[in-house]
């Protein structure tokens, strides 16, 4: 039959003519007869999976009208009692698996399934509910997934694949276990989903819903206004972003105008937005003094008094200190250590870590010229970062402007030549990982070398009985070299702790690099040996310490404990007063804490092997020396996140008065209070071997000890106590 030929049929007693190849559903619709459906949408290929559109076509089995083509003389009944009853049964079956009301019904009261059920008068399905929940997937910042609300209509799959051509969604499982899946059954946030939102707008139920965030506060400022979707879609960087999505998230992106000299964000402040510079230039800098807290004697001799001062690296170089040349910040440019100021211009995005992981702002940004910026919430940023156009632009900016500083900022790579850097610019990949996603797994083949660009990576090793955290790596750190230099297998598992972006250098380029630059090879080999030795030592300690209580109190994790022998301690607080005296009245020790045996483990830095305090530092200023001692670098901005993260409350903020330019009268200086994080430094900046607290204890009760040695006999190992003084 010719495709243009008309076919005559009868629908609900009405004779109609439609082109050959038309489905019964469309034929009815074209003639004003409505057939209910769930899985069928006009812009998608019909699949007939929900069967709600069943009609009687005079055959023993009812046909799904969305996929049944018309035939000459076909007699169709869409609304007989039997058909309605069949449809009702189908709806009851679907409703028995459907959480009522679903998220969509709760938010916008437009769940199509619940609307049809209500229309059919179904209040309580006759069938038993599913006993095993399929659960939720909350990993995407833009879309909430509730697998329990999914009716397997496949509209989302067809939307993703046919309408958008992204091919992320598919079906997985069989029978009761059947469901939709992202890529090869990954979490949505970990998959290659670009957050276009097509699946969400296709979904008839609350299985895929928009995660609406609170709109950004525009405030009374007339220079800020909510960005309209139409305005955004005209910008090249928003090319490919779903207009529906922007419409749904209206208020999550604001266009702001900043006058020259105006502060856009301040270091140390908490925030939840990122900024994209549309026009104008801005300056990013660290305004806190680039100095660390040093405790020193005011005079020579035994009557000397200790004071805490801010000391710059040149004034007070530290032993074993890595020769860092750049300060890592949450912006496309690293800051030079000597002069921590950089410029940003149109196309730059800053504040990603604050926006995605809610870390404090790492630097202060001030408008150099009049600027126009888009301030956005994390769901919008996530959509943009998944957008190919935007990501390419960001990646390109990074390769051109930041890769060189970033790579050369690691002392081992300082000698890398420009031509090789040009080669790397073309070959390196910037890869993003969602929180909890495994970057590389222990015992897997080693194929790449990684440099952390954004976020924190946890390095851990499994051993019989658990997992041992070996290190936390932040921006500027690298990993993956041990596997590549050694036997080709990964020796540890690296996992993204938050939203992580790494620079991936493939194995071939890495091989070329170490062949061409022998000094880099030597540096990497030495660092790898050191890391391996540290890991072996830590594993040996874990394996040899059997006491649960000892482990539960985190004592095994400590490298140095301040303990008070409670049978000797008269609670005179001489130790606390000495600590306060040694640090300008700000004690770094509290005589309270956990008890182990007859000892009180005082609240004072334990120099943990698993230093949680380092996770999240927006400028990476808290780090470990090679001796594993925790130190705070000069560029600490005093945001206090490390103090919050320390599980033992052992980090304090020490206020200092410093002089700063007066913003009102530019030629004048004004005194402002800046904070620096401090923890027990064992009074190591002084010439004395003993910490002040131990020295001042008149009752021989306070000791700084290595817990595994000191508690050896308690742990059933070597007899005798060895005091480390």
């Amino acid at each position: 039959m010719s495709p243009n030929a008309l076919v005559e049929l009868t629908i609900d007693g009405k004779r109609v003519s439609v082109p050959a190849g038309t489905t019964v559903f469309d034929a009815a619709r074209m003639n004003g007869i409505s057939i209910p459906t769930l899985c069928h949408q006009q812009n998608e290929t019909p699949v007939g999976v929900c069967r709600v559109c069943v009609v009687d076509v005079g055959r023993p089995i009812y046909a799904a009208s969305c996929v049944r083509p018309v035939e000459p003389g076909l007699v169709v009944t869409t609304n007989s009692d039997k058909v309605i009853q069949a449809r009702r049964t189908l709806l009851e079956l679907l409703m028995s698996d459907h959480p009522t009301p679903c998220l969509r019904q709760q938010h916008s009261r437009d769940c199509e399934l619940e609307a049809l059920a209500k229309q059919a008068g179904i209040t309580q399905p006759r069938f038993a509910r599913r006993t095993v929940a399929h659960g939720n997937d909350d990993s995407s910042l833009a879309i909430a997934v509730n697998f329990d609300a999914c009716i397997l209509c496949d509209r989302c799959i067809r939307g993703c694949n046919e309408v958008r051509g992204n091919f992320v969604l598919g079906r997985m499982g069989k029978g009761a276990q059947a469901g939709i899946a992202f890529d090869h059954n990954l979490q949505m946030g970990d998959s290659s989903c670009v957050s276009c939102g097509e699946c969400m707008v296709s979904c008839p139920t609350g299985a895929l819903t928009n995660k609406k965030t609170l709109p950004i506060d525009v405030g009374p400022d007339h220079s800020a206004k909510i960005a309209e979707p139409d305005e955004l879609l005209q910008l090249p960087v928003f090319k490919g972003v779903s207009g529906t999505f922007l419409e749904l998230n209206k208020g999550a992106i604001v266009r702001r105008q900043f006058r020259r000299g105006e502060i856009i964000c301040k270091e140390g402040e908490y925030g939840s937005t990122a900024f994209y510079i549309l026009e104008g230039k801005s300056q990013v800098s660290i305004r806190s003094p680039i100095a660390h807290v040093k405790t020193q004697d005011t005079a020579r001799g035994f009557l000397s008094k200790m004071v805490s001062t801010l000391a710059r690296r040149k004034e007070h170089p530290r032993e074993e200190e890595a020769n860092r040349r750049h300060i890592p910040i949450d912006a496309p440019a690293d800051l030079a250590y000597e002069n921590p100021v950089a410029e940003m211009g149109p196309g730059d995005l800053f504040g990603e870590m604050t926006c995605m992981s809610f870390y404090p702002r790492s630097a202060t940004v001030r408008a150099l010229t009049d600027c126009t910026m888009y301030e956005m919430n994390r769901n919008v940023l996530d959509i943009l970062q998944r957008n190919k156009t935007f990501k390419e632009r960001l990646d390109s900016t990074y390769r051109e402007r930041a890769l060189s500083n970033h790579l050369r900022g690691v002392p081992i790579f300082a000698e890398i030549t420009d031509d090789f850097l040009d080669h790397l610019r073309k070959t390196v990949e910037l890869v993003r990982y969602a929180p909890g996603q495994v970057i590389c797994k222990q015992d897997d083949p080693a194929r790449s070398f990684y440099l952390v660009r954004i976020g924190f990576v946890k390095v851990s090793e499994t051993y019989p009985g658990g997992e041992l955290v070996l290190a936390y790596l932040s921006r500027g750190n690298y990993f993956g070299e041990i596997g590549l230099l050694g036997g080709g297998m990964r020796t540890a598992t690296c996992t993204a702790l938050d939203h992580v972006e790494v620079v991936r250098i493939n194995g071939e380029d890495f091989k070329q690099m170490i062949e061409r630059f022998p000094q880099i090879r030597r540096g990497l080999e030495a660092a790898a040996q050191e890391r391996l030795q540290q890991n072996r030592d830590r594993l040996a300690i874990v394996r040899s310490v059997p006491l649960d209580h000892f482990l539960a109190q985190g004592l095994m994790e400590a490298q140095s404990l301040l303990i008070l022998d409670l049978e000797k301690c008269t609670r005179c607080d001489a130790c606390v007063r000495a600590c306060a005296d040694a640090h300008n009245g700000v004690t770094r020790l509290v005589r309270e804490g956990l008890r182990f045996d007859k000892y009180l483990v005082a609240t004072s830095c334990r120099q943990c092997r698993d230093p949680l305090c380092m996770v999240g530092c927006p400028v990476g200023s808290i780090r470990r020396r090679n001796s594993l001692e925790v130190i705070i670098e000069d560029w600490c901005i005093g945001c206090g996140l490390c103090a919050k993260n320390c599980p033992y409350g052992n980090i304090n903020l020490h206020p200092f008065e410093v002089m700063e330019d007066d913003p009102i009268q530019p030629r004048r200086k004004m005194a402002v209070v800046k904070q620096k994080a401090t923890s027990c430094d064992l009074c190591s900046d002084t010439k004395y071997k003993e910490p002040s607290c131990v020295y001042a204890c008149p009752h021989d009760a306070a000791h700084r000890v290595d817990p595994t040695t000191f508690f050896a006999d308690k742990l059933g190992q070597a007899p005798g106590l060895t005091l480390k003084r």
């Binding site: 008094k305 049978e567 008269t570 609670r571 309270e592 003993e690 002040s692 020295y695 009752h699």
Partner: protein, 309 residues
Amino acid sequence: MLIDETHKKWRDFSLVFLLVATAFYCWYPMRPPQGRNGGSAVGIAFGIIGSAFMVFAGLLGARKKFPVWRLGPAQTWMRGHLWLGLLSLPLILFHGAFRFGGTLTTVLMVLLVIVIVSGVFGAVLQHYMPRMMTREVPLETIFEQIDSVRAQLLEEADKSVAAVCGPLGVMAVGSRKLPAGGYSERGGATPAAAAAATPALALTEEDSAPLRSFYLRQMRPHLEKPGAGDHPLADPGKASGIFEELRKRVPPMVQETVEDLEDICEEERQLRRQARLHHWLHGWLLLHIPVSLALLVLGAVHAYKALRF
């Protein structure tokens, strides 16, 4: 402070010194015509050495004022304070040839004896009491924070009871109560217990009455005024009996709350014990330090007068 084997050197030195001093004391009356007295060369020498030991012992207080000064570890000073301070008594007795002399010297001797006896008493307390405190007060806190911990305990108890009995009609800790359960009204603040009193368990008034009554009439007054030592809940034996009785009168679903309240009472008793032990541990210093200061000042006057006249 434990006076243990780590004091051996100081103890041995003190014994040897005492023996030598005693030998001198026994030997020297053969030499001066007037026999043993403080004015003789040996007597003056005993006086100077004894006074020097007292001054050194007295300097411990000054040393503690400057804890970070590197004047030798504080424990060395403490051991010197103990042993040299103790040695000063026989040396001064040798100096005065066991005679008290005039008024000033008699006063000085009395003061010295008080200082030495109070010091020995303090040393004995500090030897035994830290162990006692460690054993008897496992929930020990910083002494200065005892009041705030008590306030927290009261708040916790209010919330626990309100969670099963509903609003108690008492005011927040640090503010005051409404007139309920026999309490007087003193101020107007937000009733925290009432505010936090969304009952997690819906007990009837009849079921909750025994717990509510016990708490408002017995336990809360005890927590509010823990100083009253004769309260039955201040005695572990009596408290155990009271709670045992209460358990029988409340429904099973409230047993956990009763256990929480019993734990709170136990913590309160520990805080009381800690405060008492703390006062014993440091209270003797209220006598020891001023008398020591008086001794040093009057000793200086005595030395001045003796040398001048």
